[in-house]
């Protein structure tokens, strides 16, 4: 007769079969076929049976000229845009998130309202936040320009979202608005897990409070912040909807995902687009490995 634990182990493995099947069929298979397609000449007409062409979608020298994703300055431009977006938005989110988390700790009558308000941006779809901000920042009728003109800062409304000089800033702000609540909640949970005496020590008011926060509380919530940075960072690196919605056509703020998708679905260069998305995966993968190594996130399961 089999022991109870053996039976349990077998049942456990059986219960994992559906998950494994879903992940294999819907993650691994398309990943491999994307990799393969990046080595083909797939276009709209021959998408179901493309020809193998080697690495020419990545890089090719043809009559002294370089072609391919790696030779496309627009691709490198999109890499730079994505990095700029990720670094600035995640930094802003961490700063706002920590501030919000500390404010969420204040015990008074508004406590419930603060905690409720913080969750609202998180629940709102990106498309909606994009449209809301676009409307507020609209050049003729937007409330933001109206206020600036009222205060005498501007003489005339400015088209914040379409101006290439300001659209990246706008996108970073919308992203920070939408996702700093997530960081705040993680940090807040980290703060709540601290022993009460530590929090009391940090509550001392005045400038002293800030130094106390920096030297006592901050190191203790660093793991929570690290987790938030990893999650937000990897999310920011694959940014698509905000950039696509705010300024789809602009080359100045195009992200890697927008670039790859544009090649596929606007120009029907599926092979080339697959090569671009493979490059993107590689870049994100390298950054992810460095991040996870640094934060020891892979040891999470043993950290019980």
């Amino acid at each position: 007769m089999k022991s109870v634990s053996q039976i349990r182990k077998r049942t456990a493995l059986i219960f994992l079969i559906p998950v494994t099947l879903v992940l294999l069929s819907s993650a691994l298979y398309p990943l491999i076929s994307t990799l393969y397609l990046s080595l083909t000449d797939a276009e709209l007409e021959n998408f179901l049976n493309p020809n193998y062409v080697g690495f020419i979608n990545y890089i090719e020298n043809y009559e002294g000229m370089w072609y391919g994703v790696l030779a496309d300055s627009l691709f490198w431009n999109s890499v730079r845009n994505t990095l700029v977006f990720s670094i600035f938005s995640v930094s802003l989110e961490v700063i706002l998130g920590i501030s919000f988390a500390l404010i969420m700790l204040i015990e008074n009558k508004l406590k419930w309202f603060v905690r409720a308000a913080v969750l609202i941006p998180w629940a709102i779809p990106t498309i909606v936040s994009a449209r809301m901000f676009e409307w507020m920042l609209q050049d003729q009728f937007g409330i933001f320009n109206y206020m600036l003109i009222g205060m005498g800062i501007l003489e005339q409304g400015k088209a914040w979202t379409t101006d290439p000089q300001t659209s990246m800033i706008v996108i970073i702000i919308i992203d920070a608005w939408k996702t700093s609540p997530f960081v705040a909640i993680l940090v807040y949970a980290g703060l709540k897990a601290l022993p009460n005496e530590v929090l009391e020590a940090g509550k001392v008011d005045g400038t002293n409070g800030i130094t106390q926060f920096y030297y006592i509380i901050f190191p203790l919530i660093l793991p929570a912040i690290a987790v938030a940075i990893v999650f937000r960072g990897l999310d920011a690196l694959r940014v698509f909807d905000l950039i696509y919605l705010i300024n789809a056509g602009s080359k100045d703020i195009m992200s890697m995902t927008v670039y790859a998708r544009r090649e596929m679905f606007e120009y029907s260069h599926f092979g080339f687009g697959a090569a671009a998305s493979t490059m993107l995966t590689l870049i994100i993968g390298v950054i992810a490995v460095i991040f996870i190594q640094r934060t020891r996130l892979h040891k999470l399961d043993e950290m019980e």
Binding site: F15, L23, S26, D235, R238, T278, L297, D301
Partner: protein, 287 residues
């Protein structure tokens, strides 16, 4: 005196956070309630209440249809992923076997995967699926091909998240509860149904809501795999509300649509505030 200043200072900080988080939404609600003339006069409080934008949405732009599509995809996706994940979470949290941490790590890695990495392969699979599907079914049901496909892709992108969160929640259930049943010789299936299900119901519900919000908000796949007016989901639907002429963007209707799809989310979030917070935390670190 100092104490009063301290109190005012704290209230001030809280009010800044509340305004920062709520104002854009408030402003959208306000705009959506104004008639066409009032929309284009910037102000902080509504000058009139006019349901025109909402009525316009109900009868044009196929908007009610996009809501039904999104609901269909969300319900199907979430039911499937929660069921599959519930069993997997038990295996990953209550039973120790070789490779368990590895499995969890792979799940976490997949949840951070950029969707675009699989998009070309997915699209090819989609075309094959369509061909296969069209061979079997007649024209009448063809309309939901894209929606079924969205259910499939969303299930895939939801499962890592739901497995991870449910596993974390299930780890929190005390061992003793299960042990008594094991001694009595109950099968794992019975234990999961009779013992865990009642305890886990709130956690499952929270996870389901969060997964549903993720599906409701998804844009990239929805944009890629839906092509006609009849199979669009709400995110794509809103993205495509445009005036006939460039400078005639119907801001009032866009805001009304935004409010319609957001209000249910906001209400659910407010009602489940505490649970969602612990769910979000469980999704990333130990709860």
């Amino acid at each position: 005196m100092n104490k009063i200043y301290d109190k005012i200072f704290k209230y001030g900080l809280q009010i800044i956070v509340i305004i920062f988080c709520v104002f854009p939404f408030y402003y959208a609600v306000m705009t959506s309630l104004e008639g066409s003339a009032a929309v284009f006069v910037p102000n902080f409080f509504p000058t009139e209440i006019n349901p025109k934008n909402y009525i316009y949405l109900l009868f044009e732009h196929n908007f009610p249809n996009t809501i039904l599509n999104s609901l269909f995809v969300a319900v199907v996706t979430v039911s499937i992923s929660i069921t599959i994940s519930y069993f997997a979470a038990w295996s990953l949290s209550r039973v120790s076997f070789k490779g368990r941490s590895m499995f969890l790590f792979v799940i976490l890695a997949i949840s951070m995967f950029p969707q675009i990495a699989v998009l070309t392969g997915m699209y090819q699979l989609f075309l094959n699926f369509k061909e296969f599907y069209f061979n079997i079914f007649d024209l009448r049901v063809k309309g939901i091909t894209s929606l079924l496909w969205l259910c499939f892709t969303y299930t895939m992108f939801n499962i890592p998240f739901t497995v991870w969160v449910l596993t974390t929640f299930m780890k929190g259930v005390p061992k003793e509860i299960e042990e008594a049943a094991i001694v009595d010789g109950a099968s794992s299936f019975l234990i999961l149904r009779k013992i865990f299900l009642p305890i886990m119901t709130p956690a499952i519900f929270t996870t389901a809501i969060m997964a549903m919000i993720a599906v409701w908000n998804e844009f990239l796949f929805a944009l890629t795999f839906t092509a006609t007016n009849s199979d669009r989901t709400i995110t794509v639907g809103i993205a495509l509300i445009n005036g006939t002429i460039e400078y005639e963007v119907p801001w009032g209707s866009i805001m009304a649509a935004s409010v319609i799809v957001t209000v249910p989310l906001v209400i659910i979030t407010l009602l489940l505030q505490g649970r969602i917070m612990s769910g979000l935390t469980a999704g990333s670190i130990k709860g």
